[in-house]
Symmetry: C2
Subunit: 420 residues, 2 copies
């Protein structure tokens, strides 16, 4: 079971024939770079929006068996960077402001509201901020909708990825089936013990000397214990082959390996994301440094505090712009990586969800087999009593007397008077 | 349970209002003693014939519940004694030849055929001799018809009375019911063990962590083992109160005492009979001696061998006659005693027969109770599976996912792109 391959075409500025979501139009910039504008919200973005990339996010197709998320999401607001950037500083790069977008105010850093938060390197909208998110699979309580955050470890400071919670559930499920098999095994032992005891008692010679029709009935009664023992032995054998063994061997050891593959795959993507995030932070700091440097030099020029030439300022300005470009590049790489991780999360959590459905249904089926065997056993057991009933019905004291008297009489000639 | 009182009126020459069997008429002798004559066979007897006393013997009334023999039998041929007696010698005593009977020939001893045989002091007709005996209770294989002889001990020289065989059967029956109770007790122990094991397993926490609808079904499955345990415990309790205990207490210890009373009563009558028989043998010998003496004395007189006077011969003749009378009295007492023993045999063996019928029917009834309990148990046991079936039917992976996700989700807010 391999993780599904995910296309990353969403991020390539290639000719893409996929349909744009409603409201979006595609344009070409003077530099020859394609960009996209939402005619409703006036959003502009370099990134091609897919069915999931518009806001509010459109729900996934409502198919139970489609584990694949369709593309990636984005609430791209590249037109409104949280950090103020001097538009004029921007070189014509891929990541400059696309034409026709709203010009950012200079130095609005203090007035821009925080709308997002990054926790453990994953970026979320703050509550109440941004367009409302619809569930990907509404009314299904689907794994892909509910495990985005990491879970804080109550004791310590570490946290567990939401995906990890899903994985542990599957591992626990495997443990459950093993324990159920153990339980059934214990039942089997009890049945075998019971059968052994009944069988042994059936051979006991108590009252074996009873004769006639009553003796026959008694003999059959004793034999019926052996018949019952056979029924219980049959029950225990079937429990073994039809319930215990399947429970033990369902999803053999490869299952855990497969789960581990999922685990590592997702964990790797998180590591990549963390790494990208670190780069973003570094770039952000570098930009801040460059901007501070530029600001200081500009002020100094104005008050003619130093002998710095305009050449120095131009250099500082250039470095600032470069840092800005670097930051944009890092943010973009981060978003790409987060998107990839997102897609894999959706795909894989859907797979785990399917596995869980299968597990429950499979166990249900085999526990029903258990109850079927129980029903059968009681019916067979009842029928073992019937021959006894029959013979008891035939018990006949007169017949028994005849049999016994024929066998044991001492003489039928009666005494007569003695003659003189 | 006391032995039935038996009337011995058959032997008393009192006014008897019981009807005579057909063919018999009653007369009065000159001495005032009643005698009886069979108009068909010309038999005569001092003893009043009853319904059983004529030959061929008439069968007993065909009633299963009438344990009492009706009077005593007799193939009285008192008119034809086996030993020759000088009719002329007879004094008018009670035991003289009744009038109108055939006169015996003198000294026919050597020519009288042996028609009877006495074994262990009981007198039987020899095979082929005497009138054919009909069974007292034809087609019933009744105890009262088949245990007249003693049984020879295969190993030694002793023998066992037929009645003893019947008694031993009853004692063995008591042993059988005790052994059956033991067997049931063993079954009870097996059931209790089984119930204990099931109950213990039902408390086992294996797979207790399974949640949701599947967890509910599993929990009920485990509980059903406890329910089954209860069913088996109930079964074992009922086995104890409705089968084992009754089998143990049916016919409590007084039963054996009662049997012993029967045993001693019948044995005593046999001892009396033996004693009477001894007397008969002694009287027979005494008579033979007296006759020999008379014969010798008569011969001596004829050849004038001695000086014995006719007076001596008369004395010898008197003694002879007396010896004859003694013999007749002894034989009569013997026959009375044998008749008494006979009646008690019939009465008591019928009682034992009834006891055996009751024993068999009682055991049959209680073993049927056993099979009824078995049926019930299997039915109850089956019904313990139904709640499990129901919950298994309700197992719903979607519901379980909802429950689990509600409980364990880490967050439903999806990540968004980071802004610059």
């Amino acid at each position: 079971m391999k993780p599904a391959a995910v296309s990353s075409a969403a991020f390539r500025q290639e000719t893409d024939s996929r349909p744009l979501p409603p409201g979006w139009k595609s344009y070409m910039s003077p530099e020859g770079v394609r960009y996209y504008v939402n005619s409703c919200s006036k959003e502009t973005t370099w990134r091609r929006p897919s069915l999931l990339t518009e806001s509010p996010q459109r729900p996934l197709a409502q198919q139970n068996s489609s584990p694949y998320a369709n593309g990636c999401h984005s609430t791209a607001k590249a037109g409104r960077p949280t950090e103020a950037t001097d538009v004029a500083l921007r070189k014509p790069t891929m990541m400059k402001q696309p034409p026709g977008s709203v010009s950012p105010a200079r130095r609005q850093i203090k007035e821009v509201k925080e709308t997002k938060i990054t926790i453990n390197c994953v970026t979320f909208p703050l509550p109440g901020e941004g367009p409302e998110q619809q569930l990907l699979k509404p009314n299904e309580w689907s794994y892909c909708d509910y495990f985005w955050n990491d879970k804080k470890d109550p004791q310590g400071t570490t946290s567990v990825a939401g995906f990890e919670v899903l994985l542990q559930k599957q591992l626990k499920g495997k443990q459950m089936q093993k324990e159920m098999a153990e339980f059934i095994h214990e039942r089997i032992k009890i049945e075998e013990e019971y059968a052994k005891n009944l069988s042994k008692l059936s051979l006991n010679p108590l009252a074996a000397q009873e004769e006639g029709t009553l003796g026959e009935a008694w003999t059959q009664l004793k034999k019926s214990l052996h018949d019952e023992a056979e029924v219980h032995l049959k029950f225990s054998n079937k429990l073994h082959t039809e319930v215990e063994k399947p429970l033990l061997t369902f999803r053999c050891d490869n299952f855990k390996k497969d789960l581990k593959k999922y685990d590592h795959h997702i964990a790797d993507l998180r590591k990549q994301l963390a790494s990208r995030y670190t780069s973003v932070e570094k770039a952000r700091k570098a930009l801040a440094d460059r901007q501070k440097d530029l600001e200081v030099k500009t002020q100094q020029l104005e008050i003619k505090l130093s002998n710095k030439t305009e050449e120095d300022i131009k250099k500082a300005r250039r470095k600032s712009t470069q840092a800005g470009d670097d930051l944009m590049r890092c943010v973009d790489l981060y978003n790409q990586t987060q998107c990839k991780w997102f897609e894999e999360m959706v795909t894989t959590s859907m797979e785990l969800e399917k596995l869980e459905v299968e597990r429950i249904e499979w166990i249900q089926q085999h526990l029903r087999q258990y109850t079927t065997l129980r029903h059968e056993t009681d019916m067979f057991n009842q029928s073992m009593v019937e021959p006894v009933d029959k013979l008891l019905q035939n018990v006949d004291p007169a017949k028994d007397r005849e049999l016994w008297v024929r066998e044991n009489n001492t003489g039928d000639v009666r005494p007569v008077d003695m003659d003189i």
